[in-house]
């Protein structure tokens, strides 16, 4: 029966499908295909399940505060039982934004170095170092942040920033208050170190996909290395780099442990990066097992739902854009 398959047409789906239809007549095969199908539908089930359960658990909070109003209300007060997510969302967005601002240039620099500058002798070790940096558990980053980075921030970096940038009008707003080391800035720095390897390794892979011929013809007309990177490699691989950045963005949005140690858990929206704050993840980690009232717990589920939707939408949108770009190239 399998012999009926014309063997040279390897990648033609239609013909393969024909093979499969014939195959499905075997009862064990049918069983196996059903089992594997069930296992893969598990993923769909999980996505729907997470959404449904979080929605159900947060219904109390949605009913009392309203879904949208909850997001824009800056109030987190267990005494009066009034909850709003604005401060936590603000913390999540600020730490993520600063982490990306620090991480993206460094990560792209690393990718440029590894693909365009480094000799083969250096490529291996640096590439490996980046991969390892990505594998270190986030709690190690958090601990390192608390014991090593926070004291350095308090003693040297934050006072220095305050004395220099702190005096500049407008930007100075970001560097007010007592440097404590347990604040938005430290958390963002730790977060940025954590996401550098994700962006770097994907950008490197994307850079490597640039055809050598294109680069060489640029060199042939006298372009410098930097010009090749800026005008040939980057435009060619921008979608890949974008994918890497989105992946890092997803990581940064949902990271808990790396920031939990050094953020200081205070539900407030302030302009200064030297003040304690809260992110959605840290709020959940700190308060989830301890919320005493039903509405409190429900609000925490509501927070989890907001975070789930945030990361889902960001990643789905990115996937969609990448997909569209791919189709454009293929056409």
């Amino acid at each position: 029966m399998a012999g009926a398959c014309p063997c040279h047409s390897i990648f033609l789906i239609a013909e393969r499908y024909e093979t499969l239809v014939i195959q499905k007549k075997n009862p064990i095969d049918l069983l196996f295909s059903v089992i594997t199908a069930g296992a893969s539908f598990m993923v769909i089930l999980l996505v729907i399940g997470i959404f449904a359960i979080l929605l159900k658990e947060s219904s109390l909070s949605i009913g009392k505060f309203g879904f949208i109003k909850f997001i824009v209300t800056n109030e987190w007060n267990p005494v009066t039982e009034l909850f709003g997510a604005a401060a936590s969302i603000y913390g999540t967005m600020v730490t993520t934004a600063i982490a990306l601002i620090i991480a993206i240039p460094i990560a792209i620099g690393i990718a440029v170095f590894v693909t365009e500058i480094a000799t083969d002798f250096l490529k291996g070790p640096i590439g490996a170092a980046i991969e390892l940096l990505a594998a270190i558990p986030s709690i190690i980053y958090g601990m390192w942040g608390l014991f090593t980075v926070a004291p350095i921030m308090t003693k040297y970096i934050e006072p220095a920033l305050q004395k220099s940038l702190g005096l500049v009008p407008l930007i100075g707003m970001l560097f007010q208050g007592t440097p404590m080391g347990i604040d938005l800035l430290t958390a963002s720095v730790i977060l940025s170190i954590m996401i550098i390897p994700f962006t770097a390794s994907i950008s490197r892979d994307a850079f490597n996909l640039t055809p050598a011929v294109v680069k060489e013809s640029a060199y042939a007309v006298g372009a410098t290395q930097w010009e090749v990177v800026r005008d040939v490699v980057l435009p060619y691989s921008k979608m890949g780099v974008f994918g890497g950045i989105v992946l890092s963005l997803g990581r940064a949005l949902g990271e808990t442990m790396a920031v939990a140690f050094v953020l200081g858990n205070n539900h407030q929206i302030t302009s200064s990066l030297f003040s304690a704050a809260a992110t959605i993840t840290v709020t959940l980690a700190n308060e989830f097992t301890e919320a005493d009232k039903d509405i409190y717990l429900s609000s925490l589920f509501h927070l989890a739902l907001v975070l789930f939707m945030m990361s889902f939408i960001v990643l789905a949108a990115a996937k969609f854009l990448l997909f569209k770009a791919e189709r454009k190239i293929n056409r």
Binding site: W76, P78, V79, G181, I182, G264, N265, E290, D292
Partner: protein
């Protein structure tokens, strides 16, 4: 491939049978971090003496209440006494286990234990974010002899649902109306300033690490971690040092009534030498969990008999004998002994 599958299956079955054995001798509880040092010491001794494991996780009083209401643990612990009506609603028992004091701790170079004097007004000011510097005129007038630095105050509070915070804010709200109006009291409140540590442990850790900071912890944490504690002015107008005697004086005034499930506060008591911020820490049991209740009560019966020395060593005040008897009667009356 078949071999791999069968090995896979075997490991699974083996671990399954192995891992479900030996669950009997464990009491699982969670809650207040305030009594964690003494509970864990008692549990250690109890395990040595009886072989029974008393697993106490310090997650905060709010957590203790939440987890026992949700019935995810055998007992909950809280220093924020639960009102009798709420107990009735959630079908819970409540009894006190030990008494302790909350003390302000500071990290200012050159200032030693018990040197800095604070009163209700300055403590309120600091926690409201109104007193921002250590050389504030109000602090200097209380401490004319100390060299207070020209540095910003890093205020440390609790980020989690905390009985220590409940005791502390109950005190502040009681002695200072602006605090009552602006912040209120409770296990977790909306702090106007500062950084939040998780548990007494977290506050102690942040104070230890941050220069020019102030925090509030149960006294055992200050002592075990060599944090600098302060004096406080009490209701009688005297400055007192935190120690076993001043906590004991506060404990004496406690009005614990078994009919009200021992609901009582020990803040700002009138005694001449009593420490103004103190409280008992409570155990919460689910009424229908008969078996585990007996196990938990057995542990505390053992503690009432053998645990006083250990408590004193960690500067907790054991319950006075009369109160212990009241608790025993409460157990008996409710059939959990």
């Amino acid at each position: 491939m078949k071999n791999v599958l069968s090995i896979f299956l075997m490991v699974f079955l083996l671990t399954l049978t192995y891992s479900s054995a030996g669950a009997a001798d464990m009491i699982n509880g969670a809650g207040a971090s305030f009594p964690y040092p003494v509970y864990s010491s008692w549990a250690y001794d109890y395990h040595k003496a009886t072989g029974i494991k008393f697993n106490y996780q310090s997650i905060g009083s709010g957590g203790g209440q939440r987890q026992i209401v949700g019935r995810t643990v055998d007992f909950g612990a809280s220093d924020d006494p639960v009102k009798p009506e709420a107990l009735k609603k959630d079908n819970l028992f409540q009894f006190p286990a030990v008494i302790g004091g909350v003390v302000p701790v500071v990290n200012i170079s050159g200032i030693k234990d018990g040197e800095l004097k604070l009163d209700a007004e300055t403590l309120c000011g600091i926690y409201l974010g109104e007193i921002k510097k250590w050389n504030d005129a109000k602090l200097i007038s209380l401490n004319p002899k100390l060299k207070l630095p020209d540095a910003g105050i890093t205020v440390v509070q609790r980020s989690d649902g905390s009985g220590t915070t409940a005791i502390f804010t109950n005190y502040l709200a009681g002695v200072c109306t602006s605090f009552k109006n602006k912040v209120g009291e409770g296990k977790s409140v909306k702090w106007p300033a500062g950084i939040g540590g998780k548990g007494n442990e977290g506050v102690a850790n942040y104070v230890k690490k941050s220069p020019n900071s102030i925090g509030y912890v149960e006294f055992a944490y200050a002592k075990q971690n060599k944090l600098t504690y302060t004096q406080l002015k009490n209701k009688a107008g005297n400055f007192v040092q935190p120690n076993f005697d001043s906590f004991g004086d506060a404990a004496e005034s406690g009005d614990f009534d078994s009919k009200k499930d021992f609901y009582a506060w020990l803040n700002n008591t009138p005694g001449k030498t009593s420490w103004p911020i103190a409280g008992a820490t409570f155990i919460l049991l689910a009424k229908e969990k008969k078996d585990s209740n007996v196990k938990t009560v057995r542990f505390f019966e053992w503690v009432f008999k053998n645990g006083d020395a250990k408590a004193k060593e960690l500067v907790y005040v054991p319950l006075p004998k009369s109160l212990k008897d009241k608790v025993r009667a409460y157990w008996k009356a409710n059939g959990i002994q």
